[in-house]
């Protein structure tokens, strides 16, 4: 088995009396997309910063590619912080080349790669423009390019899609998937769980500094899957054979979630609906919970409520 890209072992970090990260352990494998999920203030950024050696954990051990953070390892990592920016008064290509050389590339090599990335991002014709002339979305794409310019073996991107329009989000998602294809380990944090659930291989959910859930995305979803189906259509669903109770489906507009009797197969319910003229369906799917739903079940509270509470606390501090 290959060595893990990141190994975090029982790490804790306290700010004054506030426990930002509380005894968290996990591993990130090479060549996988690893999602770090949780509401704002859950401890995602603090964990990332500890992995990158910006912050020191109070206790616990962190290894990247099996080693304690050092200069050589730093060059194998690309990092896109949540709070990000670029030099504004210089040309896009110049910023990229400078940051590329700091990551160990020669100037000509950095320039070549920067141009190639800008082409991928459809910004090549604007390479010589000043950064400040770029829109926020364009700047974010450049920052992503800077993150991967030195072909890192591990990239850590904190809220990579926040503020991006759907087209550019998809563009970056495709680039991330390409990186995984090449064997790069990708750590992606997000408070918007739907953004990463379709592409992540494994996930870590953090709530209030504590590990809430950890494992493969499919496996986690299966683990939390209800024995049920989601249907859209007409008919008295509660009287259908094998249905124990019904509720509105959370991630569907007109859908109804039918909780089934453990002894009945979903196929049997479908054939029952088909045979009974009292029912009509326009949509029928297995009830796989979204990560959002799973979070609520695991944490016992809604992410947005936690965020609101956190915002209020931080607001007082400022």
């Amino acid at each position: 088995m290959t060595q893990s890209a990141i190994s975090v072992e029982r790490v804790s970090k306290t700010y004054g009396t506030f426990k930002a990260v509380d005894d968290i352990s996990f591993e990130v494998n090479q060549g996988e997309i690893f999602a770090m999920l949780g509401p704002n203030g859950a401890g995602k950024s603090t964990t990332i910063r500890m992995i990158l050696d910006i912050l020191r954990p109070d206790s616990g051990k962190i290894a990247v590619f099996g080693e304690k953070m050092n200069e050589a390892i730093k060059h194998r990592i690309g990092y896109l912080p949540e709070e990000r920016g670029l030099y504004r008064e210089v040309s896009v290509i110049e910023v990229m080349v400078y940051l590329g050389t700091l990551k160990g590339l020669s100037r000509p090599e950095a320039k070549k790669r920067a141009m190639r990335l800008l082409e991928q991002l459809e910004l090549a014709d604007k390479a010589k423009q000043k950064v400040k002339s770029f829109s926020k979305g364009m700047q974010q794409k450049v920052q992503f390019a800077v993150t991967i310019i030195h072909d890192p073996d591990l990239i850590i991107v904190d809220e990579p899609f926040s503020g991006l329009d759907p087209v550019n989000t998809q563009l970056l998602k495709n680039m991330v998937k390409d990186l995984r294809q090449k064997g790069t380990a990708v750590v992606m944090s997000s408070h918007e769980m739907f953004q990463v659930e379709e592409m992540a291989d494994r996930l870590l959910m953090i709530n209030r500094g504590k590990l809430a859930l950890y494992g493969g995305v499919d496996e986690v979803r299966k683990r939390y899957a209800t024995h049920g189906i989601i249907v859209e259509g007409s008919g008295d669903w509660s009287r259908l054979k094998g249905v124990e109770r019904i509720e509105p489906a959370s991630n569907s507009r007109n859908g109804v979630l039918l909780h089934l009797n453990p002894n009945i197969q979903t196929d049997a319910v479908l054939s029952e609906i088909a045979q009974n003229s009292a029912y009509h369906i326009s949509k029928f799917e297995e009830a796989v919970p979204s990560l959002y739903d799973i979070f609520i079940r695991v944490a016992g509270e809604r992410p947005e409520d936690i965020e609101a509470e956190y915002k209020q606390k931080v607001g007082k501090n400022a």
Binding site: G16, F18, A20, N40, G41, R56, E82, R88, V314, N317
Partner: protein, 421 residues
Amino acid sequence: MPNIIKIAIREYLYNIRRPTFLFTAFGTPAIIIVTWLLVFAAFGNEPEREPLTQVGMVDLAGIINPDFAVDGMTFTPIPYPDEATARQQLDAGQIQAYFVIPADYRQFGNLPIYSYADLPADFQTNIHRLIVANVSQQAGVNLPIERILNPVSDNIVVLLDTGRRLNTTGFIFAFLAPFLFSILFWIAMQTTGNFLMNGLVEEKKNRIIEVLVTTVTPSQLLIGKILGLGILGITQIVVWLAVAFFALTFGPQISFLEGLKNVQLPADLIIAGFVFFGLGYLFNAGLLAMVGVLAGSEQQSNQYSALILLPGYLPPVFLIVEFLSNSNGPIATLLSMIPITAPFSMVLRISFGAVPMEQIWLSLGLLIISTLIVGWASGKIFRWGLLLYGKKIRLGELLRVVASRKVNISTSISQPAGSEA
């Protein structure tokens, strides 16, 4: 290539292209040179006026001996017995002008000159010369006319310990040159120090700093910046010294800048300038880097930078008379010992007079020690404050950071109330 060098090169190349820098470093001297060249061209092309050769003289006081030839005159006066004859000759075009030494000349010193055209500038000098020469010859003074007219042509003070020679003539140039010299060093130090500070403010404001510190260490970042901008400051001074050299070489050829020939830019003064202002730059750079990482905005940082920079500059400038009249007096000596005011004060003292060697060493020692202390403390604050945002910083907290043995980066974003690093 080490990260420090990469950062230094980036800082140098970025800032050297900035309009602010280009203007202070190259624009100002360029304007001065161009102005001088224009003046030079204008004065150089003006045709010299022919001196008068036919001049009449009516000596009613009996002062001038017509047979005594005075050296260096453009004309030999033609004596006439009375004004009417002289006037007749002038009207007839035989002479270009005539002057009258009235009978009561000894009492009043009046000396009217008559002419139809205006007179060249050296005409009066000639008459002055004629009278002085005649009077002293009659008094039996045995000195060349040049010495009588100008008894002391130059007065040089030779400082025996450094071998420097200080002129007392051309005073205004002799006074201005060291003062301007110090000011230029000061400006270079201040410009680059402010670039350092504002660069950090910008990197924090643009949030690029977090990417930087995951790529290089905070000390590499700080040292690289100080190095790159220090070389930028040296570039600025080298340009100015080249301009000064140009001015001192060609300036004296322009008549009204003749005084420049009394100005020296001795090597020891230039070395002292580089050493003292170089250390002063490092001293201030440490303080300004601290302000840069802690200040929230450029406006705020500029206020603090004034607090840091002005105390080094204002006392010596306000007390400039002390330096001039008594450069080894207690006030000048004290100011040149205090590390904050030392660069400006010591360079002024060295340029105005002889400073005892042991004082120079003492001042240097104090400056080096305090620069090391500032550098050590600012390194800690720098690391601590790199990722701090929107936090009110108390002095006590800073002192605690400085006093702590190991300082880690502290963050304020994503931290709720009551938390501290």
